[in-house]
């Protein structure tokens, strides 16, 4: 059984079609990275899944049941835009309020357990408004985790986090799904970070799902390339351009050869042309580049 199964989902805001015949499958136990540019329909789709906005057409099944089923909704946790905390109250009090809202038995014990899970047990007494952005995001995840939901919908939880905050968040995601009971649907613009944890991906554009894949499929689909640096980069680029069909310079100053080749072959060719190679390696494009290629209609 899939955690989420969406068929032909659509949403119209007046004449504007925000989501159009979208199909989506999120397997149980997955960390599903939901990717798309601004205004592509990610948040609208997530809100429809959460029942926050009514759909115009199609179907949304959560654990095989209609998404409006109140029993199914009790299995969900959500962090969309803001966590719904009250600034003047402490993190602990905010959590206790959420626990009361959810009628959770042994609320105090559950709150402490959940705060530990998001590494916030030491800041439980802090007023929410005094928390850093990273802490606020973690509190948001903790709020979503209360009541032991098996499906978490997280909208851009990595936004604004520093490197350490990202690392902690990645660890939290992995902890959440560790026992295989829980599923996370997470949208983010930080594709490099998402790639470190996601097991599945869905890429949406103009309200349509343009592809869904597993991390393994992405790995297989991502092109390998030979990256090199030499003493004469401009001449090297010109020479490689004569022999290979796709040669590009990346942001780090490496020349990338995307054609089917090996470092040995490239070094040999340049050596014959009198250009010494100072550094050479093979690598694979990441999710970010894959996504950009896809958006450009590339292969």
């Amino acid at each position: 059984m899939n955690a989420i199964e969406i068929k032909g989902l659509s949403k119209n805001f007046g004449a504007k079609q925000a989501v159009c015949a979208l199909d989506m499958t999120v397997p149980m136990g997955a960390i599903y990275g939901f990717i798309g540019e601004n205004g592509s329909g990610k948040s609208t789709t997530e809100k429809m899944i959460c029942g926050l906005i009514p759909k115009s057409g199609g179907s949304i099944k959560i654990y095989g049941r209609d998404h409006t089923d109140k029993d199914v909704r009790a299995k969900m946790g959500v962090l969309i835009e803001a966590p719904g905390c009250f600034g003047g109250l402490s993190v602990f009090d905010n959590m206790m309020l959420q626990a009361a809202n959810l009628s959770i038995p042994n609320a105090e014990r559950e709150v402490i357990k959940t705060l530990k899970m998001v590494r916030m047990e030491g800041a439980a007494g802090n007023k929410y408004k005094n928390c850093s952005l990273g802490m606020k995001q973690r509190v948001g995840i903790a709020m979503a985790l209360l009541g032991d939901p098996t499906l978490l919908v997280l909208d851009e939880p990595l936004n604004g986090l520093d490197a350490d905050g990202m690392r902690i968040m990645r660890e939290i995601f992995l902890d959440i799904v560790r026992d295989g009971r829980r599923t996370i649907l997470v949208s983010s613009h930080l594709l490099g970070e998402l790639q470190k944890v996601a097991t599945h991906y869905g890429i949406i554009r103009h309200g349509k799902m343009i592809c869904e894949m597993t991390a393994e499929q992405l790995d297989a689909d991502c092109r390998t390339y030979v990256a090199l640096q030499s003493a004469e980069m401009s001449r090297t680029k010109a020479l490689l351009g004569c022999k290979y069909t796709r040669v590009e310079e990346d942001e780090a100053g490496y020349l990338r050869v995307y054609d089917q080749t090996t470092p040995e072959e490239v070094v040999t060719y340049l050596y014959k042309e009198g250009i010494p190679v100072t550094e050479i390696k093979t690598d694979k494009i990441g999710l970010e580049e894959y996504y950009i290629d896809l958006m450009k209609g590339g292969n």
Partner: protein, 278 residues
């Protein structure tokens, strides 16, 4: 194959208990509630004290009221307001209450609380019921502080204190009971205008001041329409709770308050169920 997932959601009783607990906790832990209680107390005290001050030209003061208890309620049913004194009584709590409800509910939307809530709680009626009850409680508390402020201010001003105690109790209780109807109306208005905080406050103020019903009353006064029809409106019923009232006025207040509470909660639930949550 057995399904490892157990599906169960809390009963209505559990849900509403939890939600009321949260809303009451929030109410008691927010300075706004105490500020409004203070405003409700200070306004009648200030009005009564100021109206007893000598006029700037040194002439004698002209008291706004002839009796202390008119600060709390009108001496008889006044569907058409002719002076400030007719208006400046406990009915003002319904204006302060409207603004308080707008701030209280506005924060729910601003903070993202409703998104958390409506994802896990499929029943929108829980939200309407909880907000209406908690805001009604807050407004009833404001009625009490208004009563205290009015008495203190009135005594300082030296107003006559003679009163029919039964009518006074009916008037105060009637207005407190009507808080439920008013709170439900304001919750409904805030659900409609949830995206526009300014309009929420303005609409609450507009309804709270009773401009609509006063306007209607001013027109129908000249028409042969019985006041009983006006009494079915919140403001009409509120006017009915005055210093000449008997027990029947209390029954009118209870019936009107409950009717409007059901009506607005039903409408609010329908609107929430059909509309987007921002």
């Amino acid at each position: 194959m057995t399904n490892p997932l157990q599906f169960e959601s809390p009963s209505f009783k559990k849900r509403i208990k939890g939600m009321l607990g949260v809303d009451f906790y929030r109410l008691f832990h927010t300075p706004m509630f105490y500020i409004f209680l203070f405003i409700a107390a200070i306004i009648p005290a200030m009005i009564s004290a100021m109206t007893m001050m000598p006029s700037p030209d040194g002439g004698a003061s002209t008291p706004l009221y002839s009796n202390l208890w008119q600060i709390i309620a009108a001496s008889k049913s006044l569907y058409v307001i002719k002076t400030i004194a007719d208006y400046a009584n406990m009915n003002m709590v319904f204006i302060f209450g409207g603004i308080m409800v707008s701030v209280f509910i506005g924060h729910d939307y601003k903070s993202g609380y409703v998104k958390q809530l409506f994802t896990t709680h499929a029943k929108k009626q829980d939200y309407m019921i909880s907000k209406s009850l908690v805001c009604a409680f807050a407004m009833a508390c404001m009625c009490i502080t208004y009563l205290i402020g009015g008495i203190v201010g009135g005594l300082f001003a030296g107003y006559d204190t003679s009163v029919n105690v039964l009518s006074l109790v009916v008037a105060v209780l009637g207005k407190m009971i009507l808080s439920l109807g008013w709170a439900s109306l304001y919750t409904f208005l805030n659900v409609i205008f949830r995206r526009y905080f300014g309009i929420s406050i303005a609409s609450s103020f507009f309804f709270g001041t009773g401009i609509l019903i006063i306007g209607v009353a001013a027109i129908v006064e000249k028409l042969p329409i019985p006041t009983a029809i006006l009494n079915i409106f919140l403001y009409g019923a509120s006017v009915n709770a005055n210093l000449s009232s008997g027990i029947s006025a209390l029954i009118v207040c209870i019936a009107v308050s409950l009717a409007w509470a059901f009506f607005y909660n039903f409408l609010g639930t329908k609107i929430l169920s059909k509309s987007d949550v921002y």
